[in-house]
């Protein structure tokens, strides 16, 4: 077995037992990632210090110092996370040359646990997209089929994890941005409960929906990584002080006596392909077979999820992205005579050049939703419906261990197929947006492949702060279906 085929934990154990050095591991991943990047375009930047940092880990191990559970694990970080001294672009021209002077809390915690940042991963610009195609740095390819998108917005994270370019990856999820690409690329991805993980230092898209989470080869790796990054952060008022369970140690695949819910509103959804229906039914059958009961629940307002999501997310985004104005950092348009340029022209040229079309579309949508005279009908109404959706999910899920559903209607689609039709692209999110609107934890577990050989994921959700239930059910599915997915040949 090659180094890049191991799980993050197996890798760290080998490093800690000095079977292999962190430096060798870092070198292997760096070479592999750099060699394959021209094919996959999964990385936007690499950490120039990665080998030095790996040597430091080796030194600590050699000295017998106490070392974190992820010692020497090469980490792929979505370019939404600020990394001190490493360019952080959010996939946008406007941050093309932005080098943060600080680490996001999530990256800091993973570094403290011994992980080494290998590089920064490609993504849709400001996480706005479901295919990776809105990135200023070009589309990332799906390692299972280079003509397909890896999904988005955390497309680089899922592709890099699937292709073994990094041992552990980080993504962010605002409306499905971890789960959908994880499903398209056949890897595991979990979005925690809103508030479980600090958002400090993560480029904001939609503050009330954004959450960070791991994209991993195994459920066990995700459990460990989630445990490391979770918890109250004094720098993020929306982070929760709920105690963090030992997700990894507690991991238990037993399904006996578990109550699993399926959502009525997700049944017979438009455009759901037969292969996905088939994989989903097989998963349900398996859960029943292992002693779980499966019951249907209903959240009638869930059908408005996509509309509500695009009103709330774009409203918040229109405000969050105002700081990118060319004044303090980031891209600034060139002017022949800047002293005679009006402030308005300064802004419109800078932002006009710095943002791509999808980001502009969402800023305009959000600006419109918040405008006086429209606020009540759009933002406020959407917030009210969001509240109803949340309440419906919280009530309906009482007493259940998990809610199981498809992640997407289709498997990975062709690059260029949906990019010209935003509404079609947005409808891609129907199974994933309610998780964020309700603040629930949710994951995508690979359970099979379609007739074209592309991976299919199943979504597992639960009540707020019940990540353990999500992980446990995911673990059971992983043990049952792992072999029917495998890894892509790149």
């Amino acid at each position: 077995m090659q180094i890049h085929e191991l799980s993050a934990q197996e890798l760290s154990q080998k490093i800690q037992s000095k079977e292999v050095s962190a430096a060798e591991v870092a070198k292997h991943f760096l070479e592999r990632a750099q060699n394959l990047n021209f094919k996959l375009n999964a990385f936007i930047s690499f950490n120039e210090e990665v080998l030095k940092e790996a040597e430091k880990i080796d030194l600590q191990i050699a000295r017998g110092n106490k070392i974190g559970p992820l010692a020497g694990v090469p980490l792929g970080v979505k370019d939404m996370f600020c990394t001190q001294g490493i360019r952080t672009t959010a996939g946008s021209r406007i941050l093309e040359n932005f080098v943060p002077p600080y680490d996001s809390t999530v990256v800091r915690k993973l570094k403290e646990a011994g992980a080494i940042v290998l590089g920064k991963l490609n993504q849709d610009e400001f996480a706005m997209g479901s295919s990776g195609e809105t990135s200023y740095f070009g589309v990332c390819k799906n390692p299972w089929d280079l003509s397909k998108t890896p999904g988005g917005s955390s497309g680089g994270s899922a592709a890099a994890q699937a292709a073994g370019l990094a041992a552990l990856c980080l993504g962010t999820d605002t409306g499905g941005s971890i789960r959908q690409p994880a499903s398209f690329c056949g890897v595991y991805g979990i979005k925690p409960t809103y508030g479980r993980v600090s958002r400090y230092g993560i480029v904001s898209y939609a503050s009330s929906l954004d959450q960070a989470g791991p994209v991993t080869r195994t459920v066990s790796d995700a459990a460990l990584a989630l445990e490391v990054i979770s918890g109250k952060d004094a720098l993020d008022m929306t982070s929760s002080d709920q105690s963090v369970p030992e997700f990894h140690k507690n991991l238990n695949p037993s399904l006996h006596g578990k109550r699993i819910a399926v959502l009525k509103e997700y049944e017979n959804s438009d455009g759901l392909t037969p292969d996905i229906v088939n994989a989903y039914e097989k998963a349900i059958e398996f859960l029943r077979g292992e002693g779980a009961t499966v019951e249907q629940i209903s959240c009638p307002h869930a059908i408005h999820g996509v509309s509500v999501y695009y009103l709330v997310a774009t409203s918040e985004a229109s405000s969050n992205l105002s700081r990118y104005d060319g004044v303090k950092y980031g891209h600034r348009a060139q002017f022949e005579n800047i002293s005679s340029t009006s402030l308005k022209d300064f802004y419109s040229s800078t932002r006009g050049e710095g943002f791509g079309p999808e980001v502009k579309r969402r800023i305009m949508l959000g600006t419109y939703c918040l405008a006086s005279g429209y606020y009540e009908a759009y933002y406020k109404k959407a917030s009210q419906v969001r509240r109803i959706i949340r309440d419906e999910f919280l009530v309906a899920l009482q007493g259940f261990d998990a809610l199981v559903s498809p992640v997407t209607s289709t498997t990975a689609f062709d690059i260029g197929k949906k990019i010209s039709d935003p509404v079609k692209m947005y409808m891609n999110d129907i199974f994933t947006v309610c998780t964020n609107l309700a603040g629930l934890p949710g994951a995508s577990v690979p359970v099979g492949k379609d007739r074209a050989g592309l991976p299919i994921g199943i979504q597992v959700q639960s009540l707020p702060f019940c990540e353990q239930s999500v992980l446990d059910v995911s673990y059971a599915l992983e043990l049952a279906f792992k072999n029917s997915v495998g890894a892509p040949h790149v």
């Binding site: 943060p100 904001s204 503050s207 008022m237 802004y347 918040l370």
Partner: protein, 476 residues
């Protein structure tokens, strides 16, 4: 009343709250820091930086709100006010919109026609922006001020004259300084004032079109700017033109206001609740604790001084000017049990010395208990009023106790009758002619004898004893 018109004025005062760190980050707030020294990813709006609310700012807002008689919302919400400007690093200001922390207060001011209550609509927390300075063909921005906590205090349009508006601003500053929520320094910009002014025909109940005058940095300018603006608006109406709703700036050099922006260019701020900050929840027990610890306010102290301590309106007003001075007075009055004398000493001697030495009250050497001691020495007849002034001077410069000064320099009054009798005899025998004239009826010579005796005793003779012996000797 102006040419048959009435002015309607409301003030929006931005007070910088006296916290050690900024409202949403741990950056320091000291004024003298070098450019952009007091910044962090949060205060310059870097990607992913998030606001964390400073509890001290909340506390000062509650203190101020209570001092202004406001009701405090147990749940208030921070909203984003969206607009682009280079010194606004995030492209939005975090402020409070429809659910402010303080509402429905009032402030009593003294006007020419007696006391007047000005209603306060609301007081809300927000962050300050940075500061742009323009240098010909370039502009520099200092973000030290970005994120300094502000309390915006909005009055109802209850003011009717420029003088009332200035009085309101002065009284408001006094309250802020009393509760120590703001240092009230207009030059440093820790207190800034926007005035809303409209005029209407006398007797008209409908409000005229309102004009806002922004960022006036002195009380005198508040008065002059409003004065100018009232006349300008009346001129416009009299000339048959309409008042345009707009924002104007006041130019103190030219003493006029000019258009900054009209309503047509007014921005839509697209307020919405800031998703990075949870609603601010304050318990009623927290409010109760703060209310208990509130200092007594100048207006209330004034009333006590006049009604219970017997001071004049003027003295009471001067003594309550600042909390330090009022505290000093109250301590002196309490220790000496002689409020009137304490007031006299402070009003005459202490304030004069303070002014001459340009010191702050907190820096002076003479303490309230020393001043009280001095008052007692006079009242008990140990020293004369004249000597007491000299002792005060000594105490002011050295900080020594008045008692010690009197003893060390032998300044105590001579009340020993036999000792004084000898002096008096000496004075009378060397002024035989005058004694005869006195006895012949020229009684106003008594003052002459007293003066001569005082001169002999270097002012230390007890006037009481001198009078007694003199009258015995001259009239007996």
């Amino acid at each position: 009343m102006y040419r048959g018109y009435e002015a309607v004025i409301g003030l929006e005062v931005h007070a910088q709250l006296k916290t050690n760190s900024k409202i949403f980050s741990s950056d320091p707030t000291n004024f003298e820091a070098s450019d952009n020294q007091n910044t962090s990813p949060v205060s310059v709006g870097m990607p992913g930086a998030l606001p964390v609310l400073n509890e001290q700012a909340v506390k000062l807002a509650v203190i101020t709100g209570l001092a202004l008689g406001c009701s405090i919302r147990t749940k208030s919400v921070f909203s984003r006010k969206n607009y682009f400007y280079p010194d606004l690093p995030k492209g939005y200001q975090i402020s409070q919109y429809d659910e402010p922390i303080c509402e429905h207060g009032h402030l009593e001011i003294q006007t020419e026609t007696g006391p007047k209550t000005v209603r306060i609509l609301r007081a809300h927390l927000e962050e300050d922006a940075g500061k742009s300075t323009h240098h010909g063909d370039f502009t520099l921005i200092n973000y030290n001020r970005s994120g300094i906590p502000l309390l915006e205090i909005v009055s109802e349009p209850d003011l009717r004259t420029p003088a009332e508006a200035a009085d309101y601003a002065r009284t408001l500053r006094q309250v802020l300084q009393y509760v120590e929520s703001c240092d009230g320094n207009l030059e440093e910009g820790s207190l800034r004032c926007d005035c809303n002014v409209s005029v209407r025909k006398a007797g008209e109940s409908k409000l005229g079109t309102r004009v806002e005058i922004k960022n006036i940095n002195s009380f005198r300018f508040i008065e002059k700017a409003i004065e100018y603006e009232i006349e300008r608006q009346i001129d416009e109406i009299e000339a048959g033109r309409k008042i345009i709703q707009e924002t104007r700036l006041y130019d103190p050099d030219k003493n006029r206001t000019f258009t900054m922006r009209t309503k047509e260019d007014a921005e839509d701020y697209r307020y919405f609740p800031d998703p990075d900050l949870l609603p601010l929840v304050i318990t009623s027990s927290y409010i109760h604790e703060i209310r208990k610890a509130l200092p007594t306010l100048p207006q209330d102290r004034c009333k006590v001084y006049i009604q219970h301590l017997g001071l004049s309106d003027y003295d009471a007003k001067v003594l309550t000017e600042t909390r330090d001075l009022a505290d000093y007075f109250e301590k002196t009055a309490q220790i000496s049990q002689r409020p009137k004398e304490a007031a006299n000493w402070i009003m005459n001697e202490l304030l004069r010395e303070l002014k001459n030495s340009s010191q702050k009250l907190s820096e002076i050497k003479i303490s309230p208990s020393q001043l009280a001691e001095l008052i007692e020495l006079v009242e008990k007849g140990v020293i004369s009023g004249k000597i007491a002034k000299a002792v005060f001077g000594e105490c002011w410069s050295s900080g020594k106790n008045p008692h010690d000064i009197v003893n060390a320099q032998g300044l105590g009054l001579i009340s020993d009758e036999s000792a004084l009798e000898a002096v008096i005899d000496r004075v009378l025998s060397s002024n035989e002619k005058s004694v005869n004239e006195y006895k012949a009826g020229k009684t106003k010579l008594l003052g002459f004898f007293v003066g001569a005796i005082m001169k002999e005793t270097k002012g230390q003779a007890s006037p009481e004893v001198v009078n007694k012996i003199l009258s015995k000797k001259l009239n007996g």
